[in-house]
């Protein structure tokens, strides 16, 4: 379970997240929607401490995974990131073969058992619904895949390290409609085994894939509820305005 309490986040002097508290249950898909610059991606990236890479940032409040504060001094960031996989907006495979892309997380974790790695790569590619398309060209460069295939490869790469949470930052925004629907189908399947948090600009997508939706605006969590509720009968006027396309 993911939980935040009184999160405030600053880029230098800019107050990017304001007092955010929310809970995300296991094996659910939670979508974050909101206009550009509202802080939804920043919030997502708190959960695998990706924001640590950006200099001059500051965080207050608590960010818990299964009750453990992941910003506590005793937490090892690399092992945290093995528990929380991430898929990025643009497909970003490594300049390596398909196989090595998926095996990457295992290799950096020190796994040397090649049979185990091969098995894990196959499982992960099957898990990302890519196996049938690529099983004959695992040695080929990842750059030879189409954009949609590359994104599913990145999902497979995240699955290979067996995380419990998968963060997706607009995973389909750079893809065509067919590839997008494949990714969405995949999210439905992955929900059984993983807790998924997805940031999206596409409100239909949020409505299609998620169980719960959080609406962000100007660094604040305006409304957080069941997806059906958010889209059918939102409580706040801002949410209503946004989902009906009056601004954003």
């Amino acid at each position: 379970m993911l939980e935040t309490k009184n999160i405030d986040f600053y880029y230098g002097g800019f107050h990017a997240l304001k007092n955010i508290g929310m809970k995300m249950e296991d094996h659910t898909v939670t979508a974050f929607i909101g206009p550009s610059g509202c802080g939804k991606s920043t919030f997502l990236r708190l959960f695998n401490r990706m924001n640590d890479l950006i200099p001059d940032t500051r965080l207050t409040g608590e960010c818990l995974i299964d009750g453990e504060d992941i910003y506590h001094k005793s937490v090892d960031v690399t092992s945290l990131r093995k528990r929380v996989g991430m898929v990025f907006q643009k497909p970003n495979p490594f300049p390596k073969s398909l196989f090595e892309n998926v095996a990457y997380g295992l290799r950096v974790a020190g796994t040397t058992d090649s049979r185990f790695i091969a098995q894990r790569v196959e499982e992960s590619l099957k898990g990302a619904a890519l196996w049938d398309e690529v099983k004959d060209k695992l040695k080929k460069s990842a750059f030879e895949l189409s954009g949609g295939q590359q994104q599913r490869l990145c999902i497979a790469r995240a699955l290979a390290i067996a995380p419990s949470v998968i963060l997706m930052d607009e995973p389909a925004s750079a893809l065509d409609p067919i590839s997008t629907s494949k990714i969405e189908d995949l999210i439905h399947i992955l929900k059984k085994d993983y807790t998924i948090v997805i940031v999206t600009h596409n409100m239909q997508q949020a409505a299609r894939v998620s169980d719960k939706t959080g609406f962000f605006m100007l660094g604040e969590l305006i409304e957080y509820n069941d997806t059906k509720k958010i889209f059918m009968s939102p409580e706040k006027e801002e949410t209503q305005n946004y989902i009906t396309g009056r601004f954003g």
Partner: protein, 397 residues
């Protein structure tokens, strides 16, 4: 009115582009034309011939054989395909050993005749004499066949003695090997250091240090090479001499060290740019999979920027091979094929710089230096093209 002005500017720009192109082309054509002139020269000094006794069965000697005969290294005709007979080399100045000035006449009018007599009387003699005298000797004197300088001797020759008489030695190998040897060692020194600094600057250094260090390193590239030469001569050369207990400190190693320092800025700047051009998405993907900073550097950043890094290496080599002044000052300039790092060597650019002033215009030596220029030009072209090809192979994400 405005239209005309724009047209004017446009044609001006076109003209300057064309002029630059033509000038470069002219330089290259000039270089190769002068270089080609080298192979039209005769093997022995122009205006002279080599004469032997008519009974001598040898008709031709190679430049190398001629040199060794006149250096008394070959002393028997059987070693060069003749009879078992001692060789007596003869230069025109040796005439005073045979005849007094009176016997040769006031204006040397009897000189050709006397030369003929000496050669006719000495079966093992080979005489290096001016062409005009050779014609008036006698029928018992025969001229050896001399050919034009030949490319095989040039490219395969192991001796560079362009001012030797009667036959100058134009052997490329010592110079080429000296150049490659010094360049290679320079790169072996500069590469680990340069890449280390590039990775440090690109990945580890914090912004303040980087903003200080990078301009400083780029400044290094602007220091005139003669200043590096001073430093090498005054600091590096004595240091090497003492440390390795050598008779002289001016060695290939000194040149390599100086060149390494000079190639560093290029390598660091280009490699660091390549490293910083690695998309942040690559780093995030790697870190997001639980890799630590080091794993990200050597498993993702370096492989991703490998083409840029290779380009840096090749450009560094280019700098090392083409550099003239500093190397001229510290390598000792002995044109011998190097066997170790701690011997003096001479590089191609240093040879051209040192010898062009004393080579008579239009002579064989002069032509030879231009051939060296052509070779250097070709080497750097190959290096630049390689760098270009490699850097175009940047992976596209």
């Amino acid at each position: 009115m405005k239209r005309i002005f724009e047209k004017f500017i446009e044609s001006l720009l076109t003209l300057s582009g064309a002029t630059t192109g033509i000038i470069i082309l002219l330089i290259v054509i000039f270089l190769f034309r002068e270089g080609a002139g080298f192979f039209r020269h005769s093997e022995i000094e122009s205006g002279y011939v080599l004469c032997v006794n008519e009974e001598n069965p040898v008709y031709r000697l190679t430049p190398k054989q001629i040199k060794e005969i006149f250096d008394y290294e070959i002393d028997n005709w059987s070693l060069v395909g003749g009879n078992d007979e001692e060789i007596t080399p003869f230069r025109i100045s040796d005439i005073s050993d045979y005849y007094s000035d009176e016997e040769l006449g006031e204006n040397n009018e009897f000189l050709p005749e006397k030369l003929g007599e000496i050669i006719a009387a000495t079966p093992g003699m080979v005489a290096f004499i001016p062409e005009q005298y050779a014609a008036d000797t006698n029928e018992r004197v025969r001229q050896l066949i001399t050919e034009k300088l030949n490319p095989a001797d040039f490219f395969g020759g192991d001796t560079w003695m362009p001012t030797a008489t009667p036959a100058p030695q134009f052997g490329l190998l010592p110079l080429l090997l000296g150049t490659l040897w010094v360049g290679l060692c320079a790169i072996l020194i500069a590469l680990p250091l340069g890449l280390g600094v590039a990775i440090y600057l690109g990945e580890l250094a914090d912004e303040k240090i980087r903003n200080l260090l990078k301009p400083t390193i780029e400044l290094l590239a602007g220091i005139p090479s003669v200043v590096y030469g001073f430093f090498g001569l005054v600091v590096v050369v004595p240091f090497i001499q003492k440390t390795f207990d050598l008779p002289v400190g001016e060695t290939a190693f000194a040149g390599s060290l100086i060149l390494a320092i000079m190639a560093l800025p290029t390598i660091i700047t280009v490699a660091e740019d390549a490293i910083r051009n690695t998309p942040q998405a690559m780093r995030e993907a790697s870190l997001g999979l639980g890799a630590n900073h080091w794993q990200t550097i050597y498993r993702v950043v370096v492989p991703y920027s490998i083409s840029g890094i290779s380009a840096a290496v090749v450009l560094g080599i280019g700098r090392a091979v083409g550099e003239t002044m500093a190397v001229l000052m510290v390598t000792g300039n002995a044109a011998v094929i190097p066997h170790s790092l701690f011997e003096p060597v001479r590089t191609i650019p240093a040879t051209v710089a040192a010898e062009l002033g004393e080579a008579p215009h239009g002579g064989a030596h002069y032509g030879a230096l231009f051939v060296l220029g052509c070779i250097l030009f070709l080497i750097t072209v190959v290096i630049s093209v390689t760098a270009e090809v490699i850097s175009k192979k940047q992976p596209q994400a």
